[in-house]
């Protein structure tokens, strides 16, 4: 009997990767990075420090959320550990007027756009399926759990952006759309249709692929025989691969591509090579399917440690780092406290938003439930 191909090797690795910081935090741009270097020129120190703060605060939050899950306070947790640079660089590159479609792991981006991360925990605690109003919170759309679905929503939204206004040429005003998805999502029909649509209508959007090398227990080699960045060219979409653990690379390339997209030059695709250091979710046990050597290799490429070295080299003070640590601890403690204070929503939540306009069934069943529950009171 024959066997199906099952590749050990990773055909999906680095190709012309944009990287500014080597793993020791030295500024050592790869040849591919040169084109994007102007994006880093003149960046304020305060913004460079903000990148660090974003990563550390999110990492600390992530750890706290993991604890909360273990302590029975969350039904599930979806860690972002290891992917902070990919998320922070791209999230900070997005301009205020941009609209962002996340999948479900982009906690760093959520925070950057102004989402109260407590609302993310409310989702994982079973208090809501949504959590915030995207129109009021940084144009950051709701998390989407069906793999790949949000890519099409992003593309439709970007079609709407293009229909609303022709680009004015002012990058501080023109809108772009940024959509996040994973390596597993690249195999989904929806994602591929979104790429077809985006290319066909030349939408102002950036597809941001976080290749964290795993889709739960399935390695990226099962999804693709070629580096995923190469997929884009088949759709006619210019693409760049970045070292997703280098926040500067993620920032520079995202800023560039978002501005290209918003200026009417069509969609762009970014593959950020990164790694899911933690489990897929708290329900997962990665020791069953991946080697400790691989984990160790990627731990040595930790995005925060690397960037910290860079900032130290640039003269950032101990005081700065200590301040960030404290802020991160305070943020996590505050969220823990507020999570423990959160209350179960009224059962009305099940019925009140099924439709926008009147539909007889939800109010009928809401009344029936109320009557049923009241009947127990009468019996006593």
């Amino acid at each position: 009997m024959a066997t199906l191909h099952d590749s050990e090797e990773q055909p999906t690795g680095a190709r012309n990767t944009v990287r500014f910081l080597d793993t020791e935090g030295r500024f050592a741009p790869t040849p591919a990075a040169e084109e994007f270097a102007p994006r880093l020129e003149g960046l304020e120190d305060s913004l460079l420090e903000e990148f660090y703060r974003d990563m550390v605060v999110t990492r600390r939050f992530d750890i706290e959320a993991g604890h909360l899950q273990r302590q029975g306070q969350l039904g599930l947790w979806v860690p972002s550990h290891g992917q902070e640079a990919a998320q922070v660089g791209s999230g900070r590159a997005a301009r205020e007027q941009d609209t962002i479609f996340p999948s479900y792991r982009e906690h760093a981006v959520a925070r950057i756009r102004g989402v109260d991360l407590l609302d993310v925990l409310r989702l994982l605690r079973g208090l809501t399926h949504g959590g915030w109003n995207p129109a009021e919170v940084g144009n950051f759309r709701l998390y989407t759990l069906v793999i790949g679905s949000q890519t099409l929503h992003a593309t439709g939204y970007a079609m709407g952006v293009a229909l609303d206004n022709a680009p004015s040429g002012d990058v501080t005003k023109d809108e772009a759309v940024l959509v996040y998805f994973g390596d597993g999502a690249t195999s989904q029909g929806d994602t591929n249709e979104a790429l077809v649509w985006a290319a066909s209508y030349q939408t102002p959007q950036v597809f941001f692929l976080q290749n964290n090398h795993w889709a739960i227990s399935v390695p990226v080699s099962r999804q693709s025989r070629v580096p995923l960045v190469q997929r884009a060219s088949g759709f006619g979409i210019p693409a760049t691969q970045v070292d997703g653990n280098d926040v500067l690379a993620s920032y520079a390339v995202s800023a560039h591509h978002l501005d290209e997209a918003r200026s009417g030059r069509g969609p762009r695709f970014i593959e950020a090579l990164t790694y899911r250091i933690g489990a897929h979710t708290t329900s997962d046990d990665p020791t069953r399917y991946r080697a400790s050597e691989e984990l160790a290799l990627w731990e040595s490429r930790d995005p925060i440690a690397r960037y910290r070295k860079y900032l130290v080299g640039k003269g950032a003070s101990e005081q700065f780092f200590a301040g960030v640590e404290e802020e991160a601890a305070d943020h996590a403690a505050d969220i823990r406290k507020r999570l423990l204070e959160s209350v179960t929503p009224p059962t009305d939540l099940m019925f009140d938003h099924v439709y926008s306009e009147r539909h007889p069934l939800p109010p009928l069943q809401k009344a029936q439930l109320a009557e049923f529950e009241a009947s127990f009171g009468e019996a006593n």
Binding site: G156, V161, V354, S356, H359
Partner: protein
């Protein structure tokens, strides 16, 4: 206002055109809906009148059509999607049932999703596999969607206008076998609420409940029955989610004999739901169990067998006779 005589195809076309003229956020999108005017010509002339930015010939992918429509709705547009044939809606099933249907609920009131998904459905055109199906139960089963199906040109015009105006997602089933017969359309005012069911023929001995393509069959059955001295009342549901039960229950209370008829196979169908509800709400008036007439629980057959597969007036009359014999 005097009625204008037109086909259902033209009535829907007119409804789309009038809605697009009234609100420039209304978009039409789908496969071949542009210069061709759709394979059934329902979008004929729209592309020429409103242009390619309002009438979008999309790439060929149903998930893409509906998924992109959802994004457009998030942006404030009111997209109308055309699914070319009933049997090709399934690639979009996830976007319709997991996204479109649930997004209102997920947003807890902070966003609305006014998307209409038009689906020509049902048999009577002698087509190949996948072109004559009746998938409405899948959508009626899904909370968050509204599902409607007109049976006349007048209803088609107004229900299309009302669906486009609704802020909820609506799956609009067009009985393609009824696209071409003509009927009066009163462009002055809607005949009824979008979700109202309606008695379309009064009678006293038995009630036949139908919708979409089966309404004309039920009316034909009633015509035959009348010549034999049996008076059949016909109720057109018009809306499959929600269902307006008041006229159905009132009719059941009057006649005591209820037959429900659909082109969709009967197992776990919309009409199963109607049968159950009529039993609950009109139990003491019923003199016979509610009987179902439906297509067989087999895939839609090759065209040469479709007239046997689809319920006709005789199958309805047989059920009425069985009910009256109880």
């Amino acid at each position: 206002m005097p009625g204008t005589v037109m086909t259902m195809s033209k009535a829907i076309n007119q409804g789309l055109a009038d809605a697009m003229a009234a609100d420039d956020r209304v978009l039409m999108m789908g496969e071949d809906v542009g210069p061709l005017g759709g394979v059934f010509r329902v979008t004929e002339g729209l592309h020429a009148r409103f242009g390619g930015d309002r009438v979008l010939d999309t790439p060929l992918g149903e998930a893409g059509i509906v998924g992109a429509a959802i994004g457009l709705a998030m942006r404030g547009y009111r997209p109308i999607c055309e699914i070319q044939f009933d049997g090709f809606v399934y690639p979009a099933f996830d976007q319709i049932t997991s996204q479109l249907a649930k997004l209102t609920n997920r947003h807890e009131g902070s966003a609305r999703f006014p998307v209409v998904v038009r689906i020509p459905f049902g048999g009577h055109i002698g087509a190949v596999e996948h072109h004559q199906e009746s998938p409405e139960a899948y959508f009626a089963h899904t909370a968050g969607l509204r599902v409607v199906s007109p049976s006349t040109p007048n209803d088609a015009y107004w229900m299309m206008r009302q669906s486009i105006e609704s802020d909820d997602p609506i799956v609009f089933f067009e009985p393609k076998g009824r696209y071409w017969p003509k009927g009066d359309v009163d462009l002055g005012a809607p005949a009824a609420d979008l979700h109202a069911s309606r008695v379309v023929r009064t009678g006293t001995d038995a009630t036949v409940v139908a919708y979409g393509p089966m309404v004309s069959v039920a009316l034909a059955a009633a015509e035959v029955a009348a010549t034999e001295g049996t008076s059949i009342e016909v109720v057109d549901l018009r809306s499959l989610s929600p269902i307006d039960y008041a006229p159905v229950v009132a009719s059941a209370e009057k006649t005591g004999h209820v037959v429900v008829a659909s082109e969709a196979p009967g197992f776990v169908s919309v009409m199963s739901e109607v049968a159950a509800t009529v039993s609950e709400r009109a139990f003491y008036s019923l003199e016979a169990p509610v009987l179902r007439v439906a297509s067989f629980d087999a895939p839609f057959p090759p065209a040469k067998l479709e007239s046997i597969y689809l319920p006709d007036a005789d199958r309805i009359l047989d059920a009425v006779d069985r009910s009256l014999a109880y």
